[in-house]
């Protein structure tokens, strides 16, 4: 199904989409300092793509974010999360014991844990949530399901 919104809606969505994406990434990376985190940021990122598809049609959207990249992202997020957990085992801690992971230049354990939460775990959750939400949208959108 082609997008059938008028030129006004299209222009505003085209101008707004990058700012929505920056806002979603901001929410993901600042989960420690205030409200927010991986899930909320991922949903906002997916929402920008949903807006784009609703204005420009499913073909344009799937040309921007192809199903293959989407599939890779879906698994990558989960892999990042459990990979950090497994890294902790590798360096002698328990599973998901972030303090055991050695980072360059930083040896203060609470800071290591904070950095791994904000920059590792939340990113993994965010990528997975975004990819899954976009997948759900593509599957439910009329004409969006790919038969392979």
């Amino acid at each position: 199904m082609k997008g059938d919104e008028s030129v006004i809606v299209r222009t505003v969505i085209r101008l707004m989409a990058p700012f929505i994406q920056i806002y979603g990434l901001y929410v993901i990376f600042h989960g420690g300092g205030g409200p927010g985190g991986g899930f909320q940021g991922g949903v906002i990122l997916a929402a920008s793509i949903i807006l784009y598809v609703m204005a420009f049609g499913i073909e344009e959207g799937q040309a921007k974010l192809t199903e293959k990249i989407n599939m890779i992202m879906r698994t990558t997020g989960l892999l990042i999360y459990s990979g950090i957990g497994a890294l902790a085992i590798l360096f002698g801690g328990k599973f998901l014991d972030y303090g055991a992971v050695p980072l360059p230049f930083i040896h203060h354990i609470p800071e290591v844990r904070a950095i791994l939460i904000d920059g590792g775990v939340e990113v993994g959750v965010g990528i997975t949530v975004m990819a899954v939400m976009v997948t759900l949208f593509y599957e439910f959108y009329p004409g969006g399901s790919i038969d392979d």
Binding site: G34, P35, G36, G37, F39, Q40, V43, I44, A46, A47, I50, M133, L136, F137, F140, Y141, P142
Partner: protein, 81 residues
């Protein structure tokens, strides 16, 4: 005085829940359900659960409503018989 806000929001919540169930047109029902979830977000900010409010705002307005509307479009029937 914050209790006045709280109680009026809760009554609002009950009215919109009843309306979402009682309305015959399915699309209207979905739209009232999104209204319900946005009132829920306000209630959660009042109960000082900021993260939960954020999640509810994101989910209730962004994802659930869109998925419901797309399902109605796919199942080709707005009106309940």
């Amino acid at each position: 005085m914050i209790w006045a806000l709280d109680i009026s929001m809760l009554i609002f919540l009950v009215i919109s829940a009843v309306a979402a169930i009682a309305v015959k047109d399915l699309l209207s029902s979905v739209i009232i359900l999104s209204l319900y979830s946005l009132i829920m977000a306000i209630v959660w900010v009042e109960l000082r659960a900021v993260d939960v409010a954020f999640t509810e705002a994101a989910v209730g307005a962004g994802i659930t409503t869109v998925l419901f509307i797309l399902t109605i479009m796919k199942t080709s029937g707005r009106y309940e018989e």
